[in-house]
């Protein structure tokens, strides 16, 4: 079946189910997911939310715009979040300081996890064991062990698991990847991603004792730095394009500007190796004045640029350069003159073919809506646990490579 026509007019959950069975990368058939309470068509999906910080509150906002959803419980170790969530939801949401307390409740249908990444695996596994589908922010684990354990738990419990790679739900990115896989730019050989910030990546902290809780991104014990926080989305796109996970990583990282006590780099360059000599390159740094986030996919017959707003496909000019001539050049001769032509010094790709998002499309809202559909219809999401493993394992091994400055092999999924 043609993948593009398959994408048209299908809901994302249908799409998710089809893609997961159609592609070897999305793993074997999984047991039918079980949930703790049976959900009938008119029931509102009751959501328990762990870690409603900045990303978490954005997810909650999008869930509140999704029909048939209730934010039924929240958990955070930082109590001021509770009032923020109550305000957002417009009513008091029962609050818990310990995730185990939240998971003990019997009235929840699905669990969202948006804590810092060090807790993802532990909380996600506990939530699945408690019989609930999980939406877990990226990356699914902090260590290689974590990543494997989350996959194990998903297989063992048969639970629905979605990772926070919302770019998988952005229509213009979906279409880009489908065009690449259909051969529109020939064989894709390279994915180049950059995400260049223009700030210090630091959060203002109301009180110094909260530094590590709020600026967890800046410290090695709690963060894989820019590679994990920003690069994971691009690595996922490369995995999607190449249809596999990377096998090696070579990387480097340093502090070039912000000598302010952080222990992760303020800039990162990493090269991931895929089969058949294919490569993915990621760069992130702190000083930038133009479009901050771009992914380029290069193929043997063209290239494709993806931004957070649109995508553009550039085709190489046709390889055939001669054609049958019917001119009278033989009779009349040719003229002589000046030869300089500025345009021929640097061949220009031309304006390219634009792929636009649907008006007002928000990938996070689509991702949340699709997850809720999956919970109702008991289907595995498109951004399933294999997708999460792909970026998670690359980032956790990548972290070691960046710090130690040598090439690391990325292991396969544990047997």
């Amino acid at each position: 079946m043609n993948r593009r026509s398959l994408l048209q007019g299908l809901s994302f959950s249908m799409l998710a189910a089809k893609l997961s069975s159609a592609s070897p990368f999305y793993g074997q058939a999984e047991p039918q997911p079980k949930t703790s309470r049976s959900i009938s068509a008119n029931d509102r999906i009751q959501i328990g939310f762990i870690g409603p910080g900045s990303r978490g509150q954005e997810l909650i906002r999008q869930l509140l715009r999704t029909p048939g959803v209730e934010i039924a419980a929240q958990c955070d170790i930082y109590e001021p979040r509770f009032a923020e969530v109550d305000e957002l939801v417009g009513k008091k949401v029962p609050a818990h300081k310990d995730y185990r307390e939240l998971l003990q409740r019997k009235d929840l249908d699905a669990i969202f996890i948006a804590t810092p990444p060090v807790f993802h695996a532990k909380y996600a596994i506990a939530a699945m064991k408690s019989g609930r589908p999980v939406y877990c922010e990226k990356t699914i684990g902090f260590t290689p062990e974590d990543c494997n354990n989350v996959v194990d738990a998903t297989r063992r419990t048969g639970q629905i698991f979605q990772v926070g790679h919302q770019m998988r739900y952005a229509s213009w990115i979906v279409e880009s990847v489908n065009r690449v896989r259909k051969g529109d730019i020939g064989e894709p050989t390279h994915v180049y991603g950059y995400w260049h910030r223009s700030d210090n990546w630091r959060r203002e902290v109301p009180n110094p004792s909260l530094e590590h809780l709020m600026n967890w991104r800046l410290y090695r014990e709690s963060s894989g730095g820019l590679l994990e926080e920003l690069g994971s989305h691009h690595i996922d796109i490369a995995n999607w394009v190449f249809g596999e996970r990377p096998q090696t990583i070579l990387g480097t990282s340093s502090i070039a500007v912000y000598h302010d006590g952080r222990t992760v780099g303020d800039n990162v360059q990493a090269v991931f190796g895929y089969s058949k000599g294919r490569r993915m390159f990621f760069s992130s740094l702190t000083d930038n004045g133009l479009m901050a986030d771009q992914v380029w996919i290069y193929g043997t017959e063209g290239s494709l640029q993806i931004t957070l707003e649109d995508a553009t496909l550039y085709k190489q000019t046709s390889k055939r350069i001669t054609e049958a001539s019917h001119s009278d050049v033989v009779q009349k001769g040719v003229e002589t003159g000046a030869s300089y032509n500025a345009n021929s010094e640097m061949p220009y790709r031309g304006p390219g073919y634009r792929l636009h998002p649907k008006p007002g499309e928000d990938a996070t809202r689509t991702a949340c809506g699709s997850f809720v559909d999956c919970v109702r219809n008991k289907q595995q999401p498109f951004a399933n646990v294999d997708v999460g493993f792909g970026s998670g394992i690359a980032c956790s091994i990548g972290r070691q490579a960046l710090y130690e400055g040598h090439m690391e092999k990325i292991p396969e999924l544990r047997a």
Partner: protein, 338 residues
């Protein structure tokens, strides 16, 4: 440097473009650093509201509602829903003088993203279907919005800046700023606390007739002031002046009112009420203000003089807390008449 040792005695000022205008913030803080950090959070909140309610940004929640609410009931977040409830309450209270469903009307009169042009009578007649707050249905239990007519388009122009100011002032209060003045392009202003040794923040209400002249100066503390007038967008056709404030009931730009200024504890309310008072006639105004004992208004209308001279004005002050310089206007009109 320990900022807690610094009393907030230095005045800082900053501006920020948003909602098609420029926001200005004056605030007292203990250090530049502190002022910067407060201003950032304030403008972040303004941008957040813009991202929620803008009818110019296709990604806003309001735009999503505009696109989808005729096709199906749209589930929205509690904040947007409460905002829409407030809008509907103002429509009801003002018998439709205030109405956020004027989006199509603004387009027909080319006031959307432009400065206006005369539409054909057929275009106006066609807009009738697509305007009217009664065609917006809110379902509180489901938190959904639904339009009963396909062409309904919400335009938050008469209340959105006020709402953004209210939300931003919450941030100032949470950060315990002792004194600040926040202005949304001067049409909505909130005065928080008072500058040192002052009773409040002075705000000048301009005379509409004479450039640079002041009709009244009020001193405000912990309250808001909004002004509706036609200085922003307008056009002249065949010697007739058309401004960008619409009467949703006649589908025409309002005639006769030159300016309406309202003082109210809530900026959302002063914004909406100034627009409602601008639109509605004298009985409507009296009725509206009767139920709002905490609100004050100064309305400037064109005087219906025998010679139809365009620049004579009459002033209507309701619980207005300061003097109004009516003379300057009269002097001006007689001066010009010579």
């Amino acid at each position: 440097m320990d900022t807690t040792m610094n009393p907030a005695t230095q005045l800082y000022c900053t501006t920020h473009p948003a909602m098609g205008t420029e926001y200005s913030l004056y605030l007292y803080a203990g250090s530049h650093q502190e002022a910067d950090s407060i201003a950032r959070s304030v403008f972040q909140e303004v941008d957040r509201i813009d991202g929620l309610l803008s009818n110019y940004q296709p990604s806003s929640e309001l735009s999503r509602i505009n696109r989808d609410a005729f096709q199906h009931a749209v589930t929205t977040d509690p904040e947007t829903f409460r905002f829409l409830e407030t809008c509907m309450a103002w429509s009801e209270r003002s018998h439709g003088a205030f109405d956020i469903s004027v989006g199509k009307l603004m387009r027909v009169w080319k006031f959307f993203g432009a400065s206006g042009a005369l539409p054909s009578p057929e275009e106006i007649a066609r807009a009738r279907e697509d305007v009217g707050w009664e065609k917006i249905r809110l379902d509180t239990a489901q938190r959904t919005v639904r339009f009963l007519s396909a062409g309904i388009e919400l335009d938050p122009g008469g209340i959105g800046k006020g709402y953004a100011v209210d939300r931003a002032v919450r941030i100032l209060r949470a950060k315990q700023v002792p004194a600040a003045l926040l202005s949304a392009g001067s049409s909505t202003i909130y005065a928080l606390g008072a500058p040192p040794q002052e009773a409040g923040w002075k705000v000048r209400v301009p005379s509409v007739l004479l450039d640079g002249a002041t009709a009244s100066t009020v001193v405000l503390r912990d309250t808001s002031l909004s002004t509706a007038n036609l200085s922003e967008k307008n056009f002249v056709h065949d010697g007739h002046f058309y401004g960008a404030i619409m009467d949703p009931r006649t589908l025409q730009p309002v005639e006769g009112t030159l300016q309406a200024t309202v003082i109210s504890p809530s900026a959302t309310d002063s914004d909406a009420l100034s627009n409602a008072l601008f639109v509605t006639g004298p009985e409507g105004r009296a009725q509206l203000l009767e139920t709002r004992q905490h609100d004050r208004a100064l309305i400037i209308r064109r005087k219906q003089s025998a010679q139809q001279h365009p620049i004579a004005a009459e002033y209507e002050a309701i619980r207005w807390p300061a003097d109004v310089a009516r003379e300057s206007a009269t002097e001006l009109s007689s001066a010009r008449e010579e």
